[in-house]
Structures are given as structure tokens and as C-alpha cells.
């Protein structure tokens, strides 16, 4: 077990270095760098002056150095928590991260909670009523959830809110610590949009696991000794069906990061996703690199955690 943990941790480093290099190089390939954008925005007259200005800005930002040198100095800062200064916001990227990260952490957690609350009972019901109307209903509901892309369900929820409640996305973001109720009012809709989507696979998985477990000998034993059906289903069967569900949910925890971008854009949540989209369009590479780096770290940590959890939960699994 400990050898496995060490091996996984060692693999973590090259993956992170490779991923950050990839993003770094991509951002250097983006046509039209920040120097050009800054200069052409100010709208000076002669192109000779502009060329000089562009050269000066590039020099200042260190964009004239070889990419490898730029990468190493960026990485050197990043490991110490110094991600440089944002080109467009004129403040350290670290400040932007500190402001946006908690908001973007809250949304996936809320989403998972909502999804689990109804997906697991639905999966259990579906399995207990296998091939009866309730089962079909649950399966159709979950399959349709899986087929509606996030931006479609998000747009439909937004339409409902605008039409029925005359709701408009609030301009100011309220932190959970300031006013929990206001905060939840803001985040519940984007959370629901993706909760419907991810509850589909969770329901399907719970159902198929339950179907397998419910035929096991120890479940029959539990029934035979006269336990109530409820106790059999929830105490004996469900507990033993949840293992793959746990891993699956953890795996989704990482994937929710991708969904963040779309949900934050639809519901105007000022989190990491909206900041990333904005930074990409403004060629603000320090911000893009830092955001993607942090997301990659979270993604890798969640995956690692899930793998370890799996080993810990199921003593039958051994890794060499």
C-alpha cells in the first residue's frame, strides 16, 4: 500500500510539469501577444512609434527571452506561490486566485451534494423495482439527464428563472461566509444544471451494483433471519453497493472543473471559469497559466485521493 502511494506521488510530478509546459507553450503560440494588444488599444498614430512600444513592453515582460527560460522562471515562482502579475488587471495573479478559488470550490461541492441526495435513492428504488414501471421511469429520467448537454440544461433553467421569476443574474457575488442564504440563492441554479447531468450515471451505477449485491448469499441470509426489507436493502445491500459509486463520484469531482466554465458563463458567477475565459480572450497569459495550473493540481489531487480511497475501502484490492 505505501509503495503504491509513493509510486502514485512520484507520477504526479511529471504529469504536472508536462501539463504546465503544454499550457505554457500553447499560450506562447496564441497569435497577437499582449504587447500588441496594449499598444493598438491606445491608438497611437505612427506605426514606427508603435513598433518601439511593442518592443519595450515585450522586453519588460521578458517575452523576448527563449520560451524555455521563460518557463523555468515562471515555474520557479509558481512553486513558491508567485504566479506573476496579471497583464490586464494590474495586480498579482495570486490575488485573483485567492478571490476566485473558494467560489469555484463551492459550486462543485454543492453540485455533488444535490446529485447524491436524489441519485442514490433513485438507483435503489430502480433496482428494488427492477423491470417494473418505476424502474423504467427512473431509467428514462436518468438517461435523458445524460443526453442533455450542460449548456442546454443551463440555458433552459435560466429561461425558466427569467420568465417565471423575472430573475436576472446578480451583479455582486455574495460569499457564503457573509450571507449563506443569498449565496445559496446564487449558486443553487448552476449547481442544479449539472446535478441533473451527473446524477444520471450515479443512478445507473447504484442500480446495477444493487442488482448484483441483492443476489448475494449474505443478503439472502439477512432476509432468512427475518430482517425487515428496509434493513436488508439499506443496511446490507446498499452499503456494499456503494464502493464503485464512491470512486465514480470522486472521479466526477475532478471532471466538474470543466463544467465550471460553462456554468459560470451562463449564470454569470465570477469564479475561476469566467476568469479563465476572459483571460484567454485578453491574452493574459500569466492568469491563464495560473488558473490552469491550479485546476490541474486539483484534478490530479482528486484523482489520487480517489484511487487511494478505493484501495482503502476495498481490502480485496492490492497494488504491487
Amino acid at each position: 500500500m505505501s509503495a503504491y502511494v509513493v509510486r502514485r506521488l512520484l507520477l504526479f510530478v511529471p504529469a504536472l510539469v508536462g501539463a504546465s509546459m503544454l499550457i505554457f507553450v500553447l499560450m506562447r503560440l496564441v497569435p497577437g501577444d499582449i504587447a500588441e494588444i496594449l499598444v493598438y488599444q491606445t491608438g497611437s498614430e505612427t506605426s514606427g512609434v508603435q513598433q518601439k512600444q511593442i518592443q519595450r513592453i515585450r522586453q519588460e515582460l521578458g517575452l523576448t527571452k527563449p520560451v524555455m527560460v521563460q518557463y523555468l522562471s515562471w515555474m520557479g515562482g509558481a512553486v513558491r506561490g508567485d504566479f506573476g502579475k496579471s497583464y490586464t488587471q494590474r495586480r498579482p495573479v495570486w490575488d485573483i486566485l485567492r478571490e476566485r478559488f473558494p467560489r469555484s470550490l463551492e459550486l462543485p461541492i454543492l453540485t455533488l451534494d444535490i446529485a447524491l441526495i436524489w441519485a442514490i435513492p433513485l438507483g435503489v428504488l430502480s433496482a428494488v423495482h427492477q423491470n417494473r414501471p418505476l424502474d423504467y421511469l427512473a431509467r428514462i429520467a436518468s438517461l435523458s439527464g445524460l443526453s442533455i448537454p450542460l449548456f442546454v440544461s443551463g440555458a433552459l433553467i435560466l429561461y425558466g428563472l427569467v420568465r417565471v421569476f423575472h430573475w436576472i443574474p446578480p451583479l455582486e457575488f455574495v460569499a457564503f461566509t457573509e450571507n449563506p442564504l443569498e449565496n445559496l440563492k446564487q449558486l443553487i441554479w448552476p449547481a442544479l444544471a449539472q446535478a441533473y447531468y451527473i446524477s444520471a450515471p450515479i443512478t445507473r451505477l447504484t442500480r446495477s451494483q444493487m442488482l448484483e449485491v441483492i443476489r448475494q448469499d449474505y443478503v439472502r441470509t439477512a432476509r432468512a433471519k427475518g430482517l425487515a426489507e428496509r434493513a436488508v436493502v439499506y443496511r446490507h445491500a446498499l452499503r456494499n453497493s456503494l464502493l464503485p459509486v464512491v470512486t465514480f463520484v470522486g472521479w466526477w469531482g475532478g471532471r466538474l472543473l470543466g463544467g465550471l466554465v460553462i456554468r459560470e458563463v451562463i449564470f454569470v458567477v465570477p469564479g475561476m471559469g469566467t476568469a479563465l475565459v476572459q483571460a484567454v480572450s485578453q491574452r493574459d497569459s500569466p492568469t491563464v497559466q495560473a488558473m490552469v495550473f491550479v485546476m490541474a493540481v486539483v484534478f490530479l489531487v482528486v484523482n489520487l485521493f480517489v484511487d487511494l480511497l478505493y484501495v482503502w475501502l476495498d481490502p480485496r484490492i492490492h497494488y504491487a
Binding site: L11, P14, A15, L16, V17, G18, A19, M21, L22, I23, L26, M27, L29, V30, P31, S126, R139, L143, S144, L146, S147, I148, P149, L150, F151, V152, A155, L156, L158, Y159, V162, R163, R204, R207, S208, L211, E212, G254, R255, L257, G258, G259, V261, I262, V265, I266, L276, V277, V280, S281, V288, V292, M295, A296, F299, L300
Partner: protein, 278 residues
């Protein structure tokens, strides 16, 4: 023929998915004949509600939404099929060959796969699109980059199982060359996994394309992408809800059909999963 009939009876949901997929293909192929107007033709009044003349209304530039939804099927299917064929094929070959070679080639390629897969897919696609510039073909390139490592990892694990099997050993024992073993024994035996990867990833590719276009990083706004149409619809959500409704239904139906179809292909090709997916 009898085989098809048995499959229809065993996989009714898959057959329903197949019908949806066939309709999608027909609409995509016949788009120029089916669409009453051109997808980029902005000649009508903007924001017209659905009527007999414009069954799905018109958009903010006065384009016929029905025509754009029809052409959108062609764009989605084109992006989905081309990117999956290139990405999954390249990734599968890569995974199979490096698994066979083993050693440094295998470890090295696995570290590359790790690096690409360390990034959340949409985020990587967003960065790629920023570097490449917005166009339909660049979306395909971004998708190929996304799909290749996934396929490489999956096929590698399938290939490792095949390489350990006795018939591979006997092929080596009779002195077959590496090239012959890979081409005649390894690749044909990976085909089932390859087919499953292709069928299950087309809908994924279509959703990624639409998502990228939705956040304004995919196809240029004048292209009839279902995702891009929804973005325009959100701007006018109160005055013209048909602009989000019809493209939304179109993409959901397409993805639903492809998922059902892909699931049943997986059930048929993988006996361990037969009937167990619910």
C-alpha cells in the same frame, strides 16, 4: 438479415438509438435539399416568432433558425466523425504499438498521456482553440488532441492483455517479425475495443464542439453550430426563447440517439457487460 433482426429484439433501445442516428445522418447529408434557406443567409427580419413561414423563427440577424438547425446537424456530425476517426485511430495505434514495444517507449508515452490527461478536457480545448484560432477545422484538431491520449490509454491496457496471451507467444516462437505480429495479431484483436471507443466518443466530440462554440471559443459565430446558436439565444432569452429551444432539442436528441446506439454496441461487443448496464 436475421442477425439484424435478433439484435433489434435483444436491443430495442439500441435500435431506437440507431433510428435517431440514421435520421441525423440523413438530415446532415441532405441539408442543402432540406433547408429552405441558406444557413448564413441573413435576409429576413430579426427575432420573428415561429410561424408557417419560419417554423422555428428567425435569429438576431434575421436568419432562418430551421435552416441553421438542419445545417447544424451536418456541422456536428462532420466534426464528431472526423475528429473521432482521426483521434481514436491515432490513439489506438499509439497505445497498441507502445504496449507491444514496452520499455522506455511505453513508459515515456504513458507520461505524455498523463500530462495531457492532467488537464480538464474543456480547459485544454479552450487553450488549444486560443492558440489555433477559431475555425471548424481547428475544433477538430483540438478534439483530436483530446481524444488521442484517452484512446491510447484504453487500447494500451487491452493490448497488454493480448500480448500476454499464448497465441502471441506462439507467433513469436515461430519467428514472426514484429511488424507481422503487430499487423496480423495485435491490431485485429484490438478492433472490438476500437469500435466501442469510436461509437461512444462521437457524441462526446459533438458535445465538446457545441460547448466550445457556446463559450465563444469554437466555430466562428456565423457557422451554424448548435452551441453557438444557444449563445446567441441566451442574449435574447426573454424576447426570442425559440433561439435556445430548437437547437437545444436538436443537440439533446442527437446525443441521446448516439448514446443509446453506442451503449448497445458496447453491450454486444463486450459479453461481460451484456444487459448489465441498465
Amino acid at each position: 438479415m436475421r442477425k439484424t433482426l435478433t439484435m433489434l429484439r435483444r436491443q430495442p433501445l439500441g435500435a431506437a438509438g440507431g433510428v435517431i442516428v440514421l435520421v441525423l445522418i440523413a438530415v446532415a447529408v441532405l441539408a442543402p435539399r432540406l433547408a429552405p434557406h441558406g444557413p448564413k443567409e441573413a435576409t429576413f427580419a430579426p427575432y420573428l416568432a415561429p410561424s408557417a413561414e419560419f417554423p422555428m423563427g428567425t435569429d438576431q440577424l434575421g436568419r432562418d433558425v430551421l435552416s441553421r438547425v438542419i445545417w447544424g446537424a451536418r456541422l456536428s456530425l462532420y466534426v464528431g466523425l472526423v475528429s473521432v476517426l482521426f483521434g481514436i485511430t491515432a490513439g489506438s495505434l499509439w497505445g497498441a504499438v507502445t504496449a507491444y514495444l514496452g520499455g522506455a517507449a511505453d513508459t515515456g508515452s504513458q507520461r505524455v498521456v498523463d500530462s495531457v490527461m492532467a488537464l480538464p478536457p474543456i480547459i485544454l480545448a479552450l487553450a488549444l482553440m486560443a492558440a489555433l484560432g477559431q475555425s471548424v477545422n481547428n475544433v477538430i484538431i483540438a478534439l483530436v488532441v483530446l481524444l488521442t491520449p484517452t484512446a491510447a490509454r484504453t487500447v494500451r491496457s487491452i493490448a497488454l492483455g493480448i500480448i500476454a496471451s499464448p497465441y502471441m507467444e506462439s507467433a513469436r516462437a515461430v519467428g514472426a517479425s514484429n511488424r507481422r505480429i503487430i499487423a496480423r495479431h495485435l491490431i485485429p484483436n484490438c478492433m472490438a475495443g476500437y469500435i466501442v471507443l469510436v461509437t461512444t466518443n462521437v457524441s462526446y466530440a459533438i458535445v465538446v464542439e457545441a460547448s466550445l462554440s457556446f463559450i465563444g471559443a469554437g466555430a466562428p459565430p456565423d457557422e451554424p453550430s448548435w452551441g453557438g446558436m444557444l449563445t446567441a439565444g441566451i442574449q435574447a432569452i426573454e424576447t426570442a426563447p425559440w433561439m435556445i429551444f430548437f437547437p437545444g432539442v436538436a443537440i439533446s436528441l442527437a446525443v441521446f440517439g448516439l448514446n443509446l446506439f453506442g451503449d448497445s454496441i458496447r453491450d454486444v461487443t463486450d459479453p461481460r457487460l451484456r444487459g448489465g448496464l441498465g
